[in-house]
Symmetry: D4
Subunit: 250 residues, 8 copies
């Protein structure tokens, strides 16, 4: 049942051709009926206050040009993740207002103004920076003020200690770490804000492409640590920014 049919039914109720009881009977099943007018994008945008993010990696240049074009027309912010260099160039040629960040592999066109809180993005080592930048740029695109605290892994804990206040002062922290993945638990013990842990596949051997780091983080004894998927910088940045915006909702 689409909007037209619904309107039709209501007119028949109004005109007396269909009784109220019959109409109730047919509308009861609406949850499972064809709606037609519903669209993913609109609902999502309403729910999160941010348009659907485009996963660029597996899409063709043609598909990307189409999707981005539609979003630009609707004056919506554009965020394309995991985008390869060559596809980015095609997008930049068509949409010169966009920016491409090769380390984070993110393409971004700012439209309108968004506002979120302060998000710290912390990494254990320099090899974790691509994932961290994916988180940081996502957060910035969503309106957050991002503080980057990079290369403060647990093998030299004092590097982290000197920057504790900077992190504590944020609304949430994304902590990115590969190998042993111990950093989020240590940060969680030092600060009183929610920590979103992002394991990375950086490492070798018993690291098993990040599974070891994931397990470490899930087992963290700090109660303010929750975990997203391996290498999921976008998810980490999104989740932390969502937390930082909780304020606006009350």
């Amino acid at each position: 049942m689409d909007e037209k049919a619904l309107s039709q039914l209501l007119k028949q109720v109004k005109g007396g051709q269909v009784s109220v009881d019959d109409a109730v009977g047919r509308l009861k099943d609406l949850p499972f009926a064809e709606l037609g007018y519903a669209t993913v994008d609109t609902h999502r945008s309403l729910r999160f206050g941010f348009p659907e993010v485009v996963l660029g990696g597996p899409k063709t240049v043609e598909q990307l040009l189409g999707i981005v074009g539609t979003l630009v027309e609707r004056k919506q912010t554009v965020l394309v993740t995991r985008l390869q260099q060559e596809k980015a160039e095609a997008l930049l040629a068509r949409f010169p207002k966009g920016e491409y960040h090769p380390v984070a592999r993110i393409f971004h066109i700012k439209q309108g103004k968004r506002k979120a809180g302060r998000v710290a993005v912390v990494t254990a080592g320099t090899s974790d920076i691509p994932v961290a930048e994916e988180a940081a740029l996502t957060a910035e695109a969503m309106g957050a003020e991002v503080r980057r605290v990079y290369d403060v892994g647990v093998a030299g804990i004092h590097r982290l200690l000197r920057r504790r206040e900077e992190i504590q002062d944020c609304h949430a922290a994304v902590v990115v770490a590969g190998m042993e993945g111990a950093l989020p638990g240590v940060v969680g013990g030092l600060v009183g804000i929610p920590v979103v842990a992002v394991p990375t596949s950086v490492g070798y051997g018993a690291n098993m492409q990040g599974v070891s780091a994931l397990l470490t983080m899930v087992n963290s004894c700090a109660s303010n640590v929750a975990v997203v998927n391996i290498d999921n910088g976008f998810g980490g940045g999104f989740y932390a920014t969502l937390i930082s915006r909780t304020k606006g909702r009350r």
Copy 2:
């Protein structure tokens, strides 16, 4: 170096017995030095606005009476988790103002008044309720208003749909699920708030004591889902309440 020694050194600087340069040299190492006056509880309490929670399961009755007694004297809220019935009875005999919740295995003494936001606690099945109650009671102890939305698993999705608004209206949701663990991803797709996913060990066979549910949740394609350890109801409730309080921090 404890507080007394520090005071002593500063007096010597003041009196000229120790030069400023010498004092700098000795204080440079302070981060790694014995402080003496630092205590875990105090710092933790300052950072999170909530005193350290006591894991009751492995402790003896004597240890528990001691710890709880100290907290009560300091007028701090008491929360003991994973507490067995027989130990709870010993605590209730000594501290009649406390309450014991046998399903959640939580002992609680309210002191003072705390304030946090609204937290939804959602479960897939009735077997997940003990873990969910651990989350709910933790959140309530921390001052949150909790909405319980139980037994709305994905095998009958309309049960969840009718309660969507109730969840959406909270600041964060704890979603508890065993077996296939699909519920947090579905809730994440329906609401625009941070979802804290808690896998449970409910299930059998290929569930592998909750590892399967954990993997499902970590792989969720909804961006507003982060995960804590299997059966960690306390962690889920703590994290969601922390999010709900973020408002207060700005």
Copy 3:
């Protein structure tokens, strides 16, 4: 919005107090609104032609007496699975028309008459029989004619060969096997009907509580084999009976 409110709205449309357009606007959101009158049991029964099965294991005697009583009043067939002996005795005392099958741990009260097709239940060894009986009794409760072909494991393949026709003549086969779990693939190669493979936790060592058998079955090179969870005899019997009834739907 519950049925009463819906009826109220429609009356207002009929009476002209609410315009058709306004009513469309409010009904558009119905998919996510509170329905109130929806109940799990009824819908499930309509969808599958069989009432919801009760998982007996974790429920108390009181809960079971209540649930079974309700179903009996509504003249619905009762099927309680994984039911312990002592709880079964309490049910039998109250509902003397019921039957309890201790090997399969199933309690059953037949009401009305159901009709489904022919289902073969095949096991590799005698230790797999409890799981197989759970499948067989489920299928019988759903109206299927069940053929039991037990103890025909691959270590003595001719035992299976002599009974091939008996299996082939069914609409679907449930094949139950532990240890190496090879039987479903062999049966799948011999007969031209859908095979539902049920791995069991029978075995030891590298069997890893049935995970090894599960993997074997998932990797089967026979195209007419699909798999359910370890020890899930109920699921296997349910699925095969569903297939055997497909006929009635066209």
Copy 4:
């Protein structure tokens, strides 16, 4: 012992050169004896009503030309799966009546007319479509009427809800999902037909090349879900079509 030798023996029995007892002795071992006239293809075709499907990937062009040629001569339907583009071109040059579907990597020559029931093919995301198309084209080649319901993953559950009836009206559904793999359980809860779940290797990190999705599906709490191997679109389509044809067998 082949057919000729068997005939010879029987003639000797008839002529009295071999006694009945001696013949019984020799025929007792027949189950394990060389038969000679048996051929895989024929038997399979008889059992399933569909000729053996050719796995194209690892075969050379020469082998494929030979096998397809033989099938064409015998007026049998041809279905080659996992076929690379360049090999497909060689087949098309020789057999211009064939069709090649590059997304599903299937080569197909229709011969005669087959009849099966209605099969829904459902996917969570667009990246699952290659596996879904392998299922859909297999089902069509076997005579099924296929309904494609693509991109209705659980992160936006209303997309699925509006198409529920379309799926419910089929005899069986193939549900294809990667990442968290939650879709088959949700579909299973919505419809009353057998669901064949196909996990895909789409995803990253803790998805572990589809193992995580496989585990989710095996643990589904919906009783009408059974599972085949990761990325096994062919198997899913074959199994669902087999179910849809069950009618013909009674």
Copy 5:
């Protein structure tokens, strides 16, 4: 079709009531037909020269008394494995000629005389002895001469070296080891006979109930090592004795 029916058919061929062609047609399907006279035990005994071994653990005393009684009547050797003490006592009361070995949990009644070759049974530690004794007593029951070389693990390799000749002089060696499971590879490097490796669940932590030892043995760089299941002493003894008897077959 059983022996009687087969005889009947042949008589009809002889008498001309059934033509040779018709008889060929009916006998062609014999491989998949009901044979009736075939029995597992007899065939097995013929194939291996040893009657079927009875797995005692999951059987009831009544079942065991019945099975053992039948074997004794037929003058066959009896071997019951994994038999609990209390069931063994019931068997000994009825069959006083039997022997029970509590460490290996084997019950044995010798009947007739068997002959096999020399088998070494080697263990890493004293905790592996129950599994080793299961192997040794199985081999002895099958007629092998067994040499026990116990407690010669790799942490004190010279203990093994002094007994090398004793092992080398056998036809096959069963090497039983838990924890790291390194012994079979070391023995394989020292002797020129087939080594049957039996991992045990002895150990703790990363041993994972013997899985670690199993992996070690499967990865052995010695080419004369093959592996059976964890704790499968019976299988190890059976396989090694089979090798030792190979001589008789040529």
Copy 6:
């Protein structure tokens, strides 16, 4: 202590320069002393009756030319496994009497005459043939008479049944299978000889590069099955031939 030093010591004992007690003292430590004259190759050849096999894959052409040259000079049989085509050509140019088998990737120079028993090499599918040929050619190089029984997987069990006798008549069987890995257990149930199971990495998805097939084989309920590493055709052929030669040792 090398041979010369030992001889020297004994001469001193003989001549009275060293007392018997002193010599006993020094010789007691001999187990851990330098032997010097021991060489790997010679001993291995003596132990197994077959010279050390050369793993060709990781070695350079220069290394291979050197090693093979030495073996040829000593009139020893040459067997190089896992040898790439281009390296094989360099070996053939220098040693024209050698043969290279590209499917099995084995290079072989026959020298002298070896004698072993009959070995069956059985495969489930055609994709398993490279591993099977590695086994078969190894067995032939060691003097065995090999019977190839290929493409008799469990999805069409009658293909295997017609060739049972052929396998039964051998001294040992190497059974090679990927995917579900069920064939070795089925063959083990049909024949009364030792079966050496070789899992292969053929398959996809839940096969996990052969780990699933390995687990199936280790869990086989047939007692005459032992297992070697995934894709270890050489090991399977070596072990089976060793069994077939056991005769010669008594």
Copy 7:
């Protein structure tokens, strides 16, 4: 060949009854020959400067009384690990000079005087103390001076920081941690001495009985961390003490 036989042979060489060449031939094989006089204890004791430690758990009281009695007679230090309370009492009754430590489950009789270096034993939480005490008492029994630094886990890192110097001043540190297992890497980053990491099975859910903690430690990015088995406190204490004694060896 035992010591007597060796002495006999040398006398024959001296007396000329056996030629030097013949004697060389017989002695060449000595490493692999039966020596008779060799005993594990003696050699081990020579190698490590510490007698073999007795694993008490699986041994009977009779076996333990025998072994300990022998060691006491030889005036050797006695160390029995994983000893149950009731067995300990039997040992104390016979050997009143011994001590039993119920938390560490160690029985110890001091004999003679040993000297080793300084060993720190560090734990993350109080639940790790039993394993830590096993390490500490082992180290003390071997002559080390032990410094216990307990309950300094990463969730409150400053507790560890104030005790850094105490650890740094030792020759080696045993760091014991369950759950996420991050502590050894953090300690490794703070001090310049070898760290022996001992994972414990303390934790739940994704901890998987300590496997998660083990993986964390193996992946540590601190280069001065090496790992022993889960819950292997004895091994950790032994290894660290061995390091602390290295000094004496130069």
Copy 8:
């Protein structure tokens, strides 16, 4: 708070502008305050007596030229690990005093003189040599005297026995092994020094990229074995050298 600010505060205390109590208050938080002057390199060098090692693999040539240049200026020893050939050539062109070892992929510039103990580096096979050389060159760069004992795997144990003394005479041994990973346990049983086990990813099939070897080593029953990550030759060499230098610390 950096050094300048600290100095400033102390001057104010001295001058009376700040009271002692106020200064104590501000310095109490120092553990978590900004230090500023601390640098990783210096501290690390002080703690271990060896400058930070540079992981060359993921760095660009420009980054490497910069880092190495700085170290050379400061007259510090340079050690770059996992360095590709082409980057090494760029470094050699600029720093002709450096050496590049292509097998171990290490670049090294010796500056000053270091002194450590004796370290044995032992390998099972020739394929393990790259990892072993990484260990050996690291140890030599740190001042150790290295003894290489290569290709002494357990499949030919006498090769190892002849070299036992050579290993025993060192302060620590690095034992490198892939496939089954049994060598460290065997070496541990033969010598009385700490053994650092390095599993390698050499092998195939059930080796699972070295995980199997890692598990073997962690389960070793020799108490003088501790383990580092798969293929971590650098870590093994570093740890063993640290042990060998323990002497210098007392």
